[in-house]
């Protein structure tokens, strides 16, 4: 029995070795250390709140976050009063008593208000490019949080041999290196109130933490439940195996 197993392993290894060069086509992403990775990972509340500030001051001018609710902000540590106050500054679309389109102050149960009423308006305001919705952005890109971080920090001057398209920006992480979005994050581009130094990298780290939270608001509950479920199942497997040994003791 042993020889076929070893051969199987070899077969898999050989095919992996063949696969490796083909996978390396694109520049590999640098793996970042995130508070939310691992089976015990949680969202760093302070970082997520700073990231919300970045989103609010920078991203939300062009990008929607339409699956998110203002009440989701409780998950990054904002109080109910803070959320109410914040939502009230936004105006949600409604139909007035006269039957005409109107606006009203948003409430915590409202979805995040989008910056543009529709896709055409978004394109018209962005040189023809459509800023993607950010609701599940860290799940919707290969590489996830690491990729978004690389994109936020990947702006650079184009190499001399690269001819840039009209209104395009050079970015090391973006496929094809030409992206319509101008560099969003600058050093000290946001005023952090907690004393953290607002470097581009710090802002990127914070906003990615916030967006990862908005993509997976259930993550902490999911992982906490998972630890309990897996522990229980391991125990159950052990007990069942003991019963099996007992039942089979007269056979073997």
């Amino acid at each position: 029995m042993r020889a076929p197993k070893i051969a199987a392993l070899l077969g898999v290894l050989v095919s992996l070795a063949v696969a490796a060069p083909a996978m390396a086509e694109q520049e590999p992403l640098a793996a970042q250390k995130w508070s939310f990775s691992g089976i015990f990972g949680t969202f760093d509340r302070a970082s997520a709140q700073r990231g919300f500030l970045v989103y609010q001051n920078v991203c939300s001018n062009c990008h929607s976050l339409k699956q998110g609710y203002y009440r989701n902000l409780e998950g990054i540590g904002l109080t109910e009063e803070q959320i109410k106050g914040f939502a009230a500054q936004k105006s949600a679309a409604t139909i007035g008593d006269d039957g005409q389109p109107a606006t009203r102050p948003a409430t915590p149960s409202d979805h995040f208000v989008s910056p543009f009423p529709n896709e055409k308006a978004a394109r018209a305001g962005n040189n023809g490019a459509l800023p993607p919705d950010l609701s599940v952005i860290t799940k919707a890109r290969e590489g996830g949080a690491d990729y978004i971080f690389a994109l936020m920090t990947g702006y650079a001057d184009p190499p001399p041999d690269v001819k840039m398209g009209d209104g395009m920006n050079y970015n090391k992480a973006f496929l094809g290196h030409q992206i319509a979005m101008p560099r969003p994050l600058q050093d000290d581009g946001v005023d952090y109130t907690d004393g953290t130094k607002a470097t581009t990298e710090q802002e990127a780290r914070d906003v990615v933490t916030f967006l990862e939270y908005m993509s997976n608001p259930e993550m902490e509950q999911r992982k906490r439940t998972g630890v309990k479920v897996v522990l229980f199942l391991v125990l159950l497997t052990g007990v069942t195996y003991a019963v099996k040994r007992q039942v089979w003791s007269d056979v073997h």
């Binding site: 076929p4 077969g11 696969a19 083909a22 799940k139 999911r222 998972g226 479920v229 199942l233």
Partner: protein, 423 residues
Amino acid sequence: MAGLHKSDVKNPVLNWIDTRLPLITMVQKEYGVFPTPRNFNYFWAFGALAMVQLMVMIATGIFLAMNYTPHVAMAFDSVERIMRDVNFGWLLRYAHSNGASMFFLIVYIHIFRGLYYGSYKAPRELLWILGVVIMLLMMATAFMGYVLPWGQMSYWGATVITNLFSAIPLVGSDIVTLLLGGFSVDNPTLNRFFSLHYLLPFVIIGVVFLHVVALHITGSNNPLGIDVKTPQDTLPFHPYYTVKDSVGICAFFVVYACFVFFAPDFFGNADNWIPANPLQTPAEIVPEWYLLPFYAILRAVPSKLGGVLMMFGAIAVLFVVPWLDTSPVRSAKFRPLYRWFFLLHIIACIVLGMVGAHKPEGIWVLLGRLGTAYYFLHFLVIMPLLGKLERPLPLPESISVPVIRRGGGPLPTGAAAKPMEKV
């Protein structure tokens, strides 16, 4: 034969029912005392596992359907609503999407187990064929389920797969129009896929029932591949295999839970978190991992019709495996040469799976063709020839002899007349 059933059930109420509708007797006969070979290894738990997983998929699916909206403008958002607003909706959805991967993993292991131990050979041909039918139905169900979240890969996967049928000469494009309910993937496609995705699992239950009935007529195969001869060769299904299968089920749920809770997007594709956009084709259109080997076979042939025929042929060939294998010995344990070819076949399938995940360029084209060639060679040439050429090892006399030997227990008198050469 008409007439009341003579029930052994003690409880008078249950006896009254069992006399008129002998369900209790049936369960007792088929799952209680059912004589089962005593030498199963844990690979035999995968049948029960598949059954459990089918139930999990149907249970989670029913609750997902209560919250899902099959409309092109609302499907993606309704799935996000399930993830964010429905109580434990994320659990339902992740259990269902990862459950599909688990279901295929189980069924593929179940199939390879059958191939290794010759479970398809007489008299179990029909049992095997019903199994292949189940696999086909599962593929159709999984494909249509993948379309429902209406992400980019849902949309473009549906476009690619339905267009396969346009390769059929003369009527191809008409068939595609019928499948889609229009001239491109759109709302009618989503509606009918949702309807069929809900229907097919119940068709699967029907075929699974036939699969189990056929199994209980022929009896199970076993790792030695030899027939059950005496009652000593068997054990009652309960409690021996109910408890052994339970161990397998618990262990499997540990793996399943790890994916659902800690890596729910492991099998997923990032592009499917982008809402479907008919005007923008993703850089690469790839199916879910469990269809990749077949996708690789499809692309191994530089002809649309040829590729489609090869892909369907890869499944069709499974139907005739019982007649392609000419060896009189069931279990590969006693087939010294076949074991190596079997191993090669597993490697070919894994390589094909990897080829399916990559763009068909460079080394992948060659690997895809080699894998495809071996896949068919294995079934169509090696299986028929090897059965005639190979000298199998001597078979054990009965199931109970090696089992008792291995355990070191006392030999029953008269059961060990001849020494064993291979256990």
